[in-house]
Symmetry: C2
Subunit: 151 residues, 2 copies
DNA sequence: AAATATAATTTGAATATCAAAGTAATTGAG
DNA sequence: CTCAATTACTTTGATATTCAAATTATATTT
């Protein structure tokens, strides 16, 4: 098998399964009541500042209506708080509760494990190579298909 | 930014958006009436032989009921043919139509482009190294999380 | 021959999503 | 200043996807 085919095979398997894998990892952990989409909303809200609904909806690429119901559920489950902004009362600010921050950290750990594993046993030259390749893939999407309007 | 942080940032973005990105790439092409899930069913059926419903369902990780409706839709759209096996009349064999094969090839080209782009400017020694790195990531999933029953 | 197993389909329910309509607050043109 | 337009968000209604369980048809085993 050529290098190209080998790389394709591994990439396909990784990419095809990544969401599934992440979801299953979630399901065997402490935060099993979260879907992967909900976890990504939590990830996007982040640890520190409050975020508006619109900014979050744009960042996670759903309509604001969809985000409203997603946040309703996350509030019910105790991961998110919602309040109206006092400066502009149309605006709704959301932020993570303590449990939300725990979930965030757990998800962050998952990613750190992944990266640590990926970089394990690599010297700095090899790390540079990996970054070059990942950057190429990133470019493939953002440049070749930029007219579809990502990033 | 450290190598770890850089890798993490790119991986997070790629992994979080990969299906979305692939679907949008699909939507700007000739096969815009296919969802990314449907394309992956087509990819799994493949070019050559007929496949059974059960095998395909297992491979794409959906229940057979879900696959039945997915195939119903793909037949309606003209990408797949279905016939009952004459050896075992419980079994249903599916295969791609000519249009299905075109869609398959288009998707294959997409992946080839991606890999070519990823391997741009790498010499063969670097390609070998990349395979080692990707294999590490693959192992990370299949070993550390094998108890959840993948692969 | 009857019981069991297998392959696929159908059914019914749950979830996620979007577009469009609706509500409330702010901004800006005159 | 005022009211028309815009903005931010929520609600509504419709569609799509999925699963588990029940069903149908066929094959295998006892």
């Amino acid at each position: 098998m050529s290098n190209h085919e080998t790389v394709n095979e591994i990439l396909v398997r990784l990419f095809a399964n990544i969401l599934d894998i992440e979801e299953k990892c979630l399901k065997i952990g402490e935060f099993a009541d979260l879907s992967i989409t909900e976890m990504h909303v939590i990830d996007n809200i982040g640890l520190t500042s409050e975020r508006t609904m619109s900014d979050t909806a744009k960042a996670v690429k759903v309509t604001s209506g969809t985000l409203t119901t997603a946040i309703d559920n996350l509030i019910k489950k105790g991961y998110v708080e919602r309040r109206r902004s006092s400066e502009d009362r149309r605006v709704v600010k959301i932020r993570l509760t303590e449990r939300g921050r725990e979930a965030y950290k757990s998800h962050e750990d998952f990613h750190k494990d992944l990266v640590t594993s990926a970089l394990e046993q690599l010297n700095s030259q090899e790390e540079e190579l990996l970054i070059k390749v990942l950057t190429n893939i990133d470019k493939f999407f953002s440049e070749k298909y930029k007219h579809a309007g990502w990033y």
